[in-house]
């Protein structure tokens, strides 16, 4: 199966994001305006299942299906976590879209999501350009 499994894993995740309506501008707006609890419950229950899974994987010393040891790198906390995180939050609200849903929106036939993707790629390039000068 090789690397094609990632296409299937991505499709699984894309179907879930779409059916959960996490890719809807309306749902993101309703979340940030506290009009509906749905998205908070989705994130909360996802983290609950994810955390139990990671705990069990570590506790039982599971290996990947390919027999390799499991590698779960930690995340580094720095100034970028806060500043970058805040800027992303503004963009999340403005577009009603976070990174995964950009791709799922394109697949769902929303052509204007291509502008969001073009903006995101420009933003990533801008970060590459400014990285040496930014506080970390």
């Amino acid at each position: 199966m090789g690397k094609l499994k990632f296409l299937l894993l991505g499709a699984w995740f894309g179907i879930l994001l779409t059916k959960a309506q996490v890719i809807s501008w309306y749902k993101i707006r309703a979340m940030f305006l506290f009009q509906e609890p749905d998205l908070y419950l989705i994130i909360g229950s996802a983290v609950g299942v994810g955390a139990i899974s990671v705990f069990l994987i570590k506790r039982l010393g599971l290996r990947t299906v390919a027999g390799a040891p499991v590698d779960i790198p930690g995340k580094t906390l720095d100034k970028g976590t806060v500043i970058g995180g805040f800027l992303f939050g503004l963009g999340w609200f403005a577009t009603g879209t976070c990174p995964g849903p950009i791709y799922a929106q394109i697949g769902s036939g929303e052509p204007w999501a291509l502008f969001t993707l073009a903006g995101a790629l420009t933003g990533a390039w801008l970060y590459a350009l400014l990285k040496p000068k930014l506080p970390h």
């Binding site: 939050g89 503004l90 995964g100 995101a120």
Partner: protein, 172 residues
């Protein structure tokens, strides 16, 4: 096909299944769930001659799984909308489909790309994967994401008077 499958899935179905993607990625893919690294990937692949260290140091050929994963996301959006939805809802408001709306999405997208790379993760990599792995950085990142989003909502409230709270309308 049962009509409940074709309707939007309730949070108690969709949320836990989204969480299951964490162990699936680890055990089947040998990778950690994350999407925003694909922006770096695409930049490095589109600009192979870039001298910027952040792009030059990234071996996008070796990390091709990231591109396949986001191609899968596009495919998943297509399958869910065309075959698993009886009444697909609009994802973006109709009035955004003009030049001003395109500029707004470009600007917002810029904040998404810059912010997620600066924070080294997005809702998937930090708020789902990182929190599942009890990472302090991911908790700080998640609070920062929401601080940004709620600030946006506050600005909109002050500018347009849009109402807060339950019963104020909103989500379809």
């Amino acid at each position: 096909m049962p009509s409940s499958l074709l309707a939007p899935w309730p949070w108690w179905v969709a949320g836990p299944l989204i969480g299951l993607t964490v162990p699936l990625m680890i055990l089947v893919g040998g990778k950690n769930l994350g999407i925003s690294s694909s922006f770096r990937h695409l930049c490095a692949a589109i600009l192979p001659k870039s001298t910027l260290a952040y792009l030059r140091s990234y071996d996008w050929r070796k990390e091709s799984w990231s591109l396949l994963f986001v191609a899968g996301l596009v495919l998943g959006g297509f399958v869910a909308t065309c075959f698993l939805s009886s009444h697909p809802q609009p994802l973006l408001p109709p009035e955004i489909h003009d030049a001003a709306g395109a500029l707004k999405l470009l600007g917002g997208g810029l904040l998404i790309g810059f912010g997620t790379r600066y924070a080294a993760g997005c809702t998937s990599g930090h708020s789902i994967m990182g929190l599942s792995n009890l990472q302090k950085a991911s908790l700080v990142a998640t609070f920062s994401f929401f601080a940004g989003g709620l600030t946006g909502a506050l600005i909109l409230h002050l500018m347009t008077g849009v109402a807060w709270g339950p019963g104020a309308g909103g989500g379809s």
